[in-house]
Amino acid sequence: MITISLFTGFLLVLAGLYGALTNRNILRMIVSFTIADAGVNLVLIAVGAMPGRKAPILDAAVPVAEAARRIIDPLPQALVLTAIVIGLGVTALMLAYAYRLHASRGSLDISKFTELKW
């Protein structure tokens, strides 16, 4: 189970990167990156997961006393939360950029924005 999600995550990352590196359209690039981000998040969760354990919430199901034996590693979950939010922020930012670029040039082809070089 863990392994599967791990590999899926990595595959998503690769797919996303590939998309971002091959699609000239800026919006497609952004989407590809969100896919890659999703993959990364999946990997994070998978690393935190432990076979046969419960979510780290100390309610009736998991008494405080035996938490140590019953719950999974909570830290990756905290991290993934942060990661998600950040990814979202960046995505929003890139979208805004896409808007500006389109407004300035009427095109979303990234290979058209090469005045700066060398």
Binding site: I2, T3, L6, F7, F10, V13, L14, L17, Y18, L21, T22, V47, A49, M50, P51, A55, P56, I57, L58, D59, V64, A67, A68, I71, D73, P74, L75, Q77, A78, L79, L81, T82, V85, I86, L88, G89, V90, A92, L93, L95, A96, Y97, Y99, R100, A103, S104
Partner: protein, 230 residues
């Protein structure tokens, strides 16, 4: 074509790298010492049922602060970008359907309520400030959809956005002054484990986070919606 080939080649190489990592990965059978510490000490130190919340809000509060800042930045910059490229004329939008209208009138308050519930209970149940904030924002989105021309008060949003932010920092300082360190939640009494008003400052902070996140998303959405031409 060459590019695709190169990209593919690179992905293969990267894939190999990832594969090695994945194959070398051995899931823990026991909690490592960090996780163990959280499992054992959260209840008595932080007093939150939801350990993840405890970590997010307290142990790694600085991350969360940064996270909120990320949203703040994004909102500000999106505003900046779109303000610069804002089209002058406002196209008139077709009236959104009756269904949407009534639906939104009915739903918006409920959604807001749900959002509030989610982040107020962040320390007890799954969920928390971010999730709650997102839910709030969805309400805002709904309103935007129903009436694109209607701008819910930017001033209000900005007020909530900033005040909650400042308040968050101040709350952190409370921790520094009254308790063990910056963003320590114990500047309020821990209360009784599992109760709504427990876990010290966590509910307060999460509320602020919720408000701020909501506000940020709302402002982002509204700025984005302004770009809508017709």
């Amino acid at each position: 074509m060459v590019k695709r080939a190169t990209a593919l080649l690179l992905m293969v190489a990267l894939g190999l790298l990832f594969a090695t990592i994945a194959f070398d990965h051995r899931p823990d059978t026991e909690l490592n010492r960090t996780a163990l510490y959280y499992a054992e000490n959260t209840a008595k130190d932080i007093g939150a049922q939801n350990i993840v919340t405890a970590i997010v809000v307290t142990y790694r509060g600085l991350d969360t602060l940064g996270e909120v800042t990320v949203l703040f930045l994004t909102a500000a910059i999106v505003g900046l970008i779109l303000a610069a490229g804002r089209p002058g004329e406002r196209g008139s939008f077709p009236p959104s359907g009756e269904l949407l209208h009534t639906g939104s009138r009915l739903l918006a308050p409920l959604i807001l309520l749900a959002g509030v519930y989610v982040f107020v209970n962040g320390h007890l149940t799954p969920g928390g400030g971010f999730q709650g904030g997102a839910i709030l924002a969805s309400a805002a989105l709904l309103l935007l959809l129903t009436d694109p021309l209607h701008r819910f008060g930017n001033r209000l949003i900005r007020l909530v956005e900033s005040l909650s932010g400042v308040a968050y920092v101040v709350a952190g300082l409370f921790g520094l002054v009254l308790a063990g360190g910056f963003l320590d939640n114990r500047f309020l009494p821990l209360g009784e484990f599992g109760a709504l008003f427990s876990a010290g400052g966590i509910p307060v902070i999460y509320t602020l986070i919720g408000l701020k996140v909501g506000a940020e998303f709302a402002s982002m959405l509204s700025s984005l919606s302004r770009t809508e031409k017709h």
